[in-house]
C-alpha cells in the first residue's frame, strides 16, 4: 500500500482525510485504486485524455510525475498538489 496525501480542495472525496491509502505499481494504477474508494476524485485530477489537469501536480515523494505510466515503489508517498487561489 502507498500513502497518498490529499490537498484540501479534494478532501470532499475522502471524508475530510488528508492522508489515504492506495495501491498500484504505476501512477495510473494508484489513481485507479483511489477512484475505487473515492468515486469522482480521479476526474478532478485527470482529464478525458488521461492528462494531468493543468491545475494539478502529482509528486512521487519529491519527484514530479510527468506521465501516468511512471512506476511507483511500495513505500513511495504520493502527493497530490492542487493550485490554491485564496489570499
Amino acid at each position: 500500500m502507498n500513502t497518498v496525501r490529499v490537498p484540501s480542495p479534494l478532501r470532499d472525496y475522502t471524508s475530510g482525510a488528508g492522508k489515504i491509502s492506495a495501491s498500484g505499481a504505476t501512477v495510473a494504477e494508484i489513481l485507479a485504486s483511489i477512484e475505487r474508494e473515492h468515486q469522482g476524485m480521479r476526474f478532478r485530477m485527470i482529464d478525458e485524455q488521461d492528462r494531468i489537469r493543468p491545475h494539478i501536480r502529482i509528486f512521487i515523494n519529491q519527484r514530479e510525475v510527468q506521465s501516468l505510466d511512471e512506476p511507483v515503489a511500495p513505500r513511495d508517498e504520493i502527493h497530490l498538489i492542487c493550485a490554491l487561489s485564496g489570499g
Binding site: P9, D12, G18, R44, H55, R57, S85, G86, G87
Partner: protein
C-alpha cells in the same frame, strides 16, 4: 540612500545582522515593493515589509473592508469596516512606519493596467484571492522581468513559491493554466484566520531575501504548509520549455484578462434569473403546465451539505463535465446556483457547450437568495 539617526535606531536589529547591515538596510530603503491584495496574505506581508523599512510600498486593492475580513486581515480594525482597503492599509502602514512611502492603488488589477503598475516596482507580492489574477500577475512579472513572491491559501493549507527572472520556473511552469471551479477562494471555502499570517510572513521574508540578495529563495521549489498536520513540505519543479509565458516559444506577449476573470463584475454571458424570479419559477411550476426547472447546485459537497435550496441537486463544478448526462438535455430549464454567481456562470458555459439547451443561473447566487428570499438558508 543613507540612513538617518532615527532610522539607524529603528532598524538597529537589522544592522546587527551581517547579512543585512547598513548597506543592506539602505538597499531596503531604496527598494519598491508592490503587494497585490490587502487581504489575509497582504496584511502580514505589508506590515512586516513596512516595519522592515522598505522605502516604497504599494498596495493594490479595489475592495472595501468587510466585517468578515477582520478574522485574519490584521491591517484593519473594527473602525475600518466599510473603508476602502488600499487607503485604510495605507493609513495603518504609515502609522507603523512614518519613514517610508506607502502608495495606495485603489484599482482592480487587469490586463490594461498591470504592466504600467508593476513596472514601477522592484519586487511583487501576490496575495490576491483569485486564480485568474495570479496568472495575470505572473505573466506581467515574467514580461517585465520582475521577481514575484506568490502564496495562496485554502482552509488549513497554504503554498508558496518565488519566481526570479532568468533563475527558475514561473507560476505557469507549475500550474500551466486554470480550470473551471478548481480553486475556491477564502469566501467560498473558508480559511483558518492565522493561516495567511504564516504564509504572508513567509512572503515578506522571501521578498527581503530577494531584495538583499541573500539566502536561498524558493526558486523552483513549491513550499506547502498543512496547519492541521503542522507539516511543511517542499517540492521541486522545473521551468517548462513549453511554458506559455517563460518557455522557449512563448505565446503570451502581453498580459491577458481571462474570460472568467472579474466574473462577478463583468456582464453576465448567460441568461440569469434573480432570486425573486427563481422563487416564482419554483412556486409557479407546481400550479401550471410549465415544468419545474432543474436546480443544479455547483458548489462543493461540503458547501451543499451546510445548506441548499429544497429540491436542488449537487454536482460540483469540477465534476460537471463528467456528469453532464445527468442534466435534462431538452425538457425543462436548468438553473445553476452557487454561492455568489461566479461558478454558476461557468457551469452555464460548460453545459451549453455540451449541448444542454436551456441554461440559466441564479444572479448573485445563494447569497442573494438569502438576502432577498429566505434568510434562514445557511450559505457556507
Amino acid at each position: 540612500m543613507t540612513l538617518s539617526a532615527t532610522e539607524r535606531e529603528r532598524y538597529s536589529r537589522h544592522l546587527l545582522l551581517p547579512e543585512i547591515g547598513e548597506a543592506g538596510q539602505e538597499r531596503l530603503k531604496a527598494a519598491r515593493v508592490l503587494v497585490i491584495g490587502a487581504g489575509g496574505l497582504g496584511s502580514p506581508a505589508s506590515l512586516y515589509l513596512a516595519a522592515a523599512g522598505i522605502g516604497t510600498l504599494g498596495i493594490v486593492d479595489h475592495d472595501r473592508v468587510d466585517l468578515s475580513n477582520l478574522q485574519r486581515q490584521l491591517l484593519f480594525d473594527t473602525a475600518s469596516v466599510g473603508a476602502g482597503k488600499a487607503v485604510a492599509a495605507q493609513a495603518r502602514l504609515r502609522a507603523l512606519n512614518n519613514e517610508i512611502r506607502v502608495v495606495a492603488h485603489e484599482l482592480e488589477l487587469c490586463a490594461a493596467n498591470a504592466l504600467d503598475l508593476l513596472q514601477q516596482y522592484d519586487c511583487i507580492i501576490d496575495g490576491s484571492d483569485r486564480l485568474t489574477t495570479r496568472y495575470l500577475v505572473n505573466d506581467a512579472c515574467v514580461l517585465l522581468k520582475r521577481p514575484l513572491v506568490s502564496a495562496a491559501i485554502h482552509r488549513f493549507e497554504g503554498q508558496a513559491m518565488t519566481y526570479i527572472p532568468g533563475q527558475g520556473p514561473c507560476y505557469r511552469c507549475l500550474f500551466p493554466e486554470s480550470s473551471a471551479g478548481v480553486a475556491p477562494n477564502c469566501a467560498e471555502a473558508g480559511v483558518l484566520g492565522v493561516l495567511p499570517g504564516v504564509l504572508g510572513a513567509l512572503q515578506a521574508t522571501e521578498a527581503m531575501k530577494v531584495l538583499l540578495g541573500i539566502g536561498a529563495p524558493l526558486v523552483g521549489r513549491l513550499m506547502t504548509f498543512d496547519a492541521l498536520a503542522m507539516e511543511w513540505r517542499e517540492f521541486r519543479f522545473r521551468r517548462r520549455s513549453d511554458c506559455a509565458v517563460c518557455g522557449d516559444a512563448p505565446r503570451i506577449a502581453t498580459p491577458e484578462d481571462s474570460a472568467a476573470s472579474c466574473a462577478t463584475h463583468a456582464p453576465a454571458r448567460w441568461p440569469r434569473v434573480n432570486a425573486a424570479e427563481l422563487q416564482q419559477l419554483l412556486v409557479g411550476a407546481g400550479s401550471g403546465p410549465q415544468a419545474a426547472p432543474t436546480i443544479v447546485d455547483v458548489r462543493e459537497v461540503h458547501e451543499f451539505q451546510a445548506g441548499h435550496l429544497d429540491g436542488s441537486v449537487n454536482i460540483p463544478l469540477g465534476e460537471l463535465a463528467r456528469r453532464i448526462s445527468e442534466l435534462p438535455a431538452q425538457a425543462a430549464a436548468v438553473v445553476f446556483v452557487c454561492r455568489s454567481g461566479r461558478r454558476s456562470q461557468t457551469a452555464c458555459e460548460l453545459s451549453a457547450g455540451a449541448g444542454v439547451q436551456r441554461v440559466a443561473d441564479l444572479e448573485g447566487g445563494l447569497l442573494a437568495w438569502a438576502a432577498t428570499v429566505d434568510p434562514s438558508i445557511r450559505v457556507a
